[in-house]
């Protein structure tokens, strides 16, 4: 009985969180200027082409991958782009400059992310013994 109650509470909490998020998000978006709306639309809609991602993964594995793998990989790649972009924009601002971002901003952003361990770099550690 207790497990069902805890589960219900967590589910309800999650739903309330979602409702609050959508409510606040709607208020925010309704206050956007046209330029902000354009940018927001691009932010939401931009995505990597699934076919190219699938081809890339399959060229590395040598075997086929499921649709879910492509979806997951595209998704986290976009998050990754966002992390680099946020850092690069920070760098740009800190150096007293403005967009468009230049390669030097991108490079500095990557350098900082690497220091924080946010850029994977194992150069494919291979398992020698199972």
């Amino acid at each position: 009985m207790l497990e069902i109650t805890i589960e219900r509470v967590l589910l309800e909490k999650h739903n309330m969180y979602l409702k609050k998020f959508f409510y606040l998000n709607r208020i925010l978006v309704s206050s956007f200027s046209e330029e902000q709306l354009n940018r927001y639309e691009m932010y939401r809609r931009s995505a990597f082409p699934k076919a190219a991602i699938k081809r890339l993964i399959q060229s590395i594995t040598g075997c086929s991958v499921s649709q879910n793998v492509v979806i997951a990989m595209s998704g986290i790649s976009k998050v990754f782009v966002g992390e680099v972009m946020e850092e690069a924009l920070d760098v740009c601002e800190k150096w007293g400059e403005t967009p468009p971002l230049q390669p030097k901003h991108m490079r500095e952003a990557v350098r900082r992310l690497k220091l924080r361990g946010q850029i994977p770099n194992t150069k494919y550690k291979k398992v020698t013994f199972y």
Partner: protein
């Protein structure tokens, strides 16, 4: 394609240490190592960069750097995923496992997969309602 004099000046000002071998490509001509690959997602990346806060027309050199970063990211993830779970294959569970300590990416993958399941269920229900199972 000669580098823009503005960009050449920036390159001279930076220290010459490449931050990453793979991303070092610039300008024309094949280089050692990665070489000049055909650009895979230039259009989509431009939209993404604008969405994340860049100018509406990002510099091509910056787009290229980002593309190389993304390809390297996917390559790393793929290799790691191949080395865990079922060897030599990439499965969703492997990706979720690899990303477990990164809150943003973890939450994003869970969201995407959940949404996909709901979409599939909705589509199936729709098809059955309209055309019979």
């Amino acid at each position: 394609m000669d580098r823009d004099p503005f960009l050449r000046k920036m390159a001279d000002e930076e220290d010459e240490q490449p931050f990453d071998e793979d991303v070092e490509e610039s300008g024309s001509g094949a280089e050692g190592g990665q070489g000049r690959r055909k650009r895979l997602f230039s259009k989509e990346l431009r939209c993404m960069m604008y969405g994340f806060g860049d100018d509406q027309n990002p510099y091509t050199e910056s787009v290229d750097i980002l593309e190389d970063l993304v390809i390297e990211f996917i390559t790393e993830m793929t290799h790691k995923a191949m080395s865990i779970g079922r060897q030599g294959r990439v499965q969703v569970e492997d990706i979720v496992f690899l990303i477990r300590k990164d809150p943003r990416k973890f939450a994003r993958v869970k969201d995407l997969l959940t949404m996909n399941e709901e979409l599939k269920r909705a589509r199936k229900a729709f098809d059955e309602a309209n055309y019979g199972s």
